[in-house]
Symmetry: C2
Subunit: 242 residues, 2 copies
């Protein structure tokens, strides 16, 4: 299993597609340079265009004899600067980067000063007036638990079962940044971005948020927040696979 | 007086020159779009190509009637994403962005994990093996006080008086980042980058550092650390000017 991080700005998401450069593709290119043949790799998640990852995992089968600890630097020499291999671990044969995941944590980064930050363009959602992070945190707590999140997903997802469990959902301020952290057993298409948009909406109430949860209608939740503020922050696997 | 921040990656420093794009130039372009004529502006400091600023000041004279608080957003609409106007203040007529400075603070950012950070390319010095920040902090304390820093400057500076006062010099760790903060009444050409290189040198000793200070010979100090890790962090002016 390969643990990586990437800045998503230049990419049309993780998953290979026809219309543009993807993270999967540059990983396969680097692996091909290293191993002399093109390998299939399986990612833990699809991420949208522009979304970042502080931690993302993929697996592949290989007969290569390169020692585990030599892989990161060997691959980082072949990868572009916005993708980094952090660690490579051996896993049992039945491990699957996508299906073995038992929890994921996302972060959403808002920047709420009128004047932009010249260092973070593409790395946060620049909302130009001050957010009330305490109010947002109180609303966030309504999402914790087992809920049907159908009202927090956009058309385009293919799953039928829209019930997910959220373990924690917190909003904190760090200077001119507001950080939403959400951990759960799974997330629907655009779910974290819709939650980020909903919590940032200035006239959002507990009642309306409950209506969005209970009705399953998309119209009660807020806007889909821009991709550039979203980070897949951590992917969790049971220790038994290692 | 204009308080700005910029990411220096794309620029050949602050000061206008023939060979490449400079921060001063893009500021003059934006001001020209706003005011309809090209103004001379005076910066607080020259910065090298690739060096960043969390806080940088310049002044100009103008007869414009634009209210002070409207300038930042008006200019930020006309500036590229890597330059941001934070605040504009009125100053007394004799104020001079460069000569009225009484102290400056720089930061130098090292990243010391073997695997790169995909989010910080161009924003830190990636040293691939672990630094000893406690040792570096002890060495840093040797620089505090009034010293002749001739041995910590590179050819190219034009000043004759090489005595400067350092008020504080600290090295701290934050995860995989090590941060050097140095505040003083003035800095020679490349002085902070040489200090950053010297503190990071693994065989540097207090004795050798003292030799560099006392002899004034460049050879005793360490290498000039790369520009990309350096930030002008804060410029100080006496309150009397405002």
């Amino acid at each position: 299993m390969f643990e990586i991080a990437y800045r998503g700005t230049r990419y049309h998401g993780y998953q290979v597609q026809k219309n543009g450069l993807t993270v999967c593709e540059v990983l396969q290119d680097a692996l091909e340079s290293l191993l002399g043949k093109r390998e299939d790799i399986v990612g833990c998640s699809r991420t949208d265009a522009g979304v970042h990852a502080n931690h993302f995992c993929f697996h592949m089968e290989t007969e290569s004899k390169i020692p585990l600890q030599a892989w990161p630097l060997a691959l980082n020499r072949l990868l572009p600067e916005d993708v980094s291999v952090l660690r490579v671990r051996e896993v049992k044969k039945e491990f699957h980067a996508r299906y073995s995941v038992y929890a994921k944590e996302y972060r959403y980064l808002y920047f709420d000063r009128p004047e932009r930050d010249p260092f973070s363009s593409g790395l946060c959602w620049h909302v130009k007036s001050r957010l009330d992070e305490k109010r947002m945190d109180r609303l966030a707590k309504e999402l914790v638990g087992v809920h049907d999140f159908k009202g927090f997903s956009n058309a385009g997802g293919s799953v039928k079962d829209t019930v997910r469990q959220i373990y924690s959902c917190d909003v904190k301020r760090d200077g001119d940044y507001v950080i939403l952290s959400i951990r759960g057993n799974g997330f629907l298409y655009n779910m974290v971005r819709i939650i980020a948009g909903t919590l940032a909406q200035r006239d959002m109430t507990k009642e309306r948020l409950q209506k969005a949860l209970q009705s399953g209608e998309r119209k009660w939740a807020g806007m889909t927040a821009p991709a550039e503020g979203l980070y897949l922050n951590r992917v969790f696997y049971p220790e038994e696979w290692f």
